[in-house]
Amino acid sequence: MLRRSRVLGGLAASVLAAFSVAHAADQEGTLVVALETLGGQTMDPILEGRAPHAHYQAPIYDALIGFNLEEGGLGPGVTERWELAEDGQSWFFHLQKGLKWHNGDPLTAHDVKFSLERTMSEESIASRASALRRNVKSIEVVDDHTVRVYTKGVQVHFPAGLSRAVFQEGQLMPKNYIESVGVEKFRAEPVGSGPWKFVESVPGDYVEFEAVEGPHWRGTPNFKRLRILLVPEESTRVAMVRTGEAAIASISPESIREVEAANLKLVTVPGTMQAIYQFWGTYKEGHKDSPLADVRVREALSLAIDRQQIIDHVMYGQASWPMPFATFSYAVDTDIAKWQEWGRTALRYDPERAKALLAEAGYPDGFDMKFANTALPGTPYMTQIGIAVADFWQKIGVNVDIKHYEWGAFRLLYRGEQKSLAGAASMFRTAGRPVAVARYSGGFQSKGGHHLFGDTEECNDFCQAYDKLHQEVVTAQDAELRARKTDEMLTMVADSWMAVPIIEGMGYWAVNPEQVGKFDTIPGRHELGDVFERMPRPEQKPW
């Protein structure tokens, strides 16, 4: 299906400009978008750690690496192409020529070096800043349009983190402007290079932008203005789209019926997340003999779940059948077709087999199990998936003790020794990212945040084998080797049934067709910060 082999840096930037034929005279109206959160609502990229940046910072800031707009994942951005040096210890980034900041200054390699260094600086609280600090040795401006980043050791996935398809750290800030006016003024009157210029930001209320006049490589806006509103309550957001006070609003699957009944359009962004469940600390002393430590039991629990029912009824038909852990159709180094097939069969609904496996493992009458239900920010519907999953487990005779945790409270449970989670299952998710291995690191490496296979003090053979394999994947410079090792890694985790995908979720948007024309989203990127500029007015491209 979407099988493709990706050659990084192979695509021409001009492809992206296909849409952009609009001129300043042709920009009119205001595009109003209602969101459930505006995060920290700061216009300084190094002060926003979380996903909302891709909504309200993306319009004015370009990222070093861009998107593959059709399929998702990475594509050219400010960097036309990028390549790993022969020795694997540094990366070259070749910038587009002729880019300008909103104040007219040219965008050059100096800005890129400045931006990366600012993102790595002490004052930066960008979420992956510490990873950058760990991985980057130095940054060199080769010429005005070439930057070379020396990494500590081989970092084959280094550029991915500089695309908004993955994280925020690649956002570019104007060196001269910041150095001449100072940080405070920059925060109040930010200057970027994106298709929208900053107008104002009213805390807790909205952020407003104005379209740049000339053509922009990301697409030239069709609307004159863009206003992003903070509307915390979903029912209110839906009402605003119905009345036309907003053109677009973020929703959860629960509102899909409401949206369709009101003759609004539902826009879904495929592959934004996987809802999963995982088993914590089963390797630990005291849990080694628990039912969940038995791989047959874990497989049985997966077979007990009727995923189609969850897709049809909990997600109102707007979700996909999952692939392996953290793997999406746009994943790199992955045999997509093979793993889609795997998903169809391995993740099937087979309660008979599930019961047989339980009996085989010595639990014909089920067992008691703790299940921590939680929803991560941005995906509130996870709670309902969790409730549905618990019910399926209950139906094959497992006595599920389900407890709900608000996300911040749940976060406490899995740091440190994970005492209260060990031996229990919980809901979790993986966000839609092209490089699966990055997510595997947090999940399964012994030094990872979840360390489901073993921790740094207690790492059994299986855990050690995984650590070794993981290291091979992230340092494999040869694409073919990397693909083979990635495949092995996926197999190892899939067969462990330790972290199991339930469904592949989407980004859900209610759209008023009279306020905005038909638009395409970027697979995997729930947020629309890189889509606004290509949204047509309703008369330009009716639904």
Binding site: R257, A388, A390
Partner: protein, 274 residues
Amino acid sequence: MRRLPLISFAIIGTMIFVAVFAPWLTPHSPIDQSLPDKLLPPFWEEGGSTEYLLGTDIFGRDLLTRLFYGARVSLIVTGLALTVGGGVGLVLGILSGYVGGKLDAFLMRVVDAAFAFPTILFALLLAVTMGQGMDTLVIALSLFLWAGFARVIRGEVLAIKQRDFVALARVHGSSPARIMFVHIMPNVLNTFMVLLTLNVGVIIVAEASLSFLGAGVPPPTPSWGLMVAEGRGKITSAWWLSLIPGIAITLVVLSFNLFGDWLRDRLDPKLRQL
């Protein structure tokens, strides 16, 4: 004299009845799901069925069944919160009113503090600290209640303390504890009872607001407040989800209020300022 509020008794009685006998009144489970049957309307609407008289929720669970079990949860939460919060308020109110002096001044400042501190935030903090649960909810709601009880009871005690029988008990050498809890307490029980009934509505609604903010009874356990909160997004496509439990709340609150008014008139016609 007000007439006996028979309808109120009937509604309260029904609520208690369905709460106690929920498992025998319905063939459905309040928690087990039947996803393909989700969001069926009540039987009188097109597409409804008599199997699910009041329709089903987003997981295909029978709404009527959840209403029955929800009555149980709401009653338990309300009962416990009133017992704990009301009880603490009663004891502190009596202490404060009878002992007076510095203790009174101190306790009344604490009451002020309780009013100055947005209780719902404390409930939220508790819910995120301890995890959502009925225990958390009861503690939070008790914290919400005690100050109001303490303040009113204290006022009563101040008046009662002047009465002759208290002086007499003192002359007879009764211990302060005995005077407070044997002589004074029975005289404030009327007020206490009235406060209890009038606060039922307050608690049920507070529980709903906490559910809305994500700190109420954790799903899948049904509570009326949670049901209203969960159904709020579907007012136009599945009105029964929030309207039916909403009506149940209104009826019960109305009944408890009428009952409380009646009780108040019956117990003490002077006790109107509640």
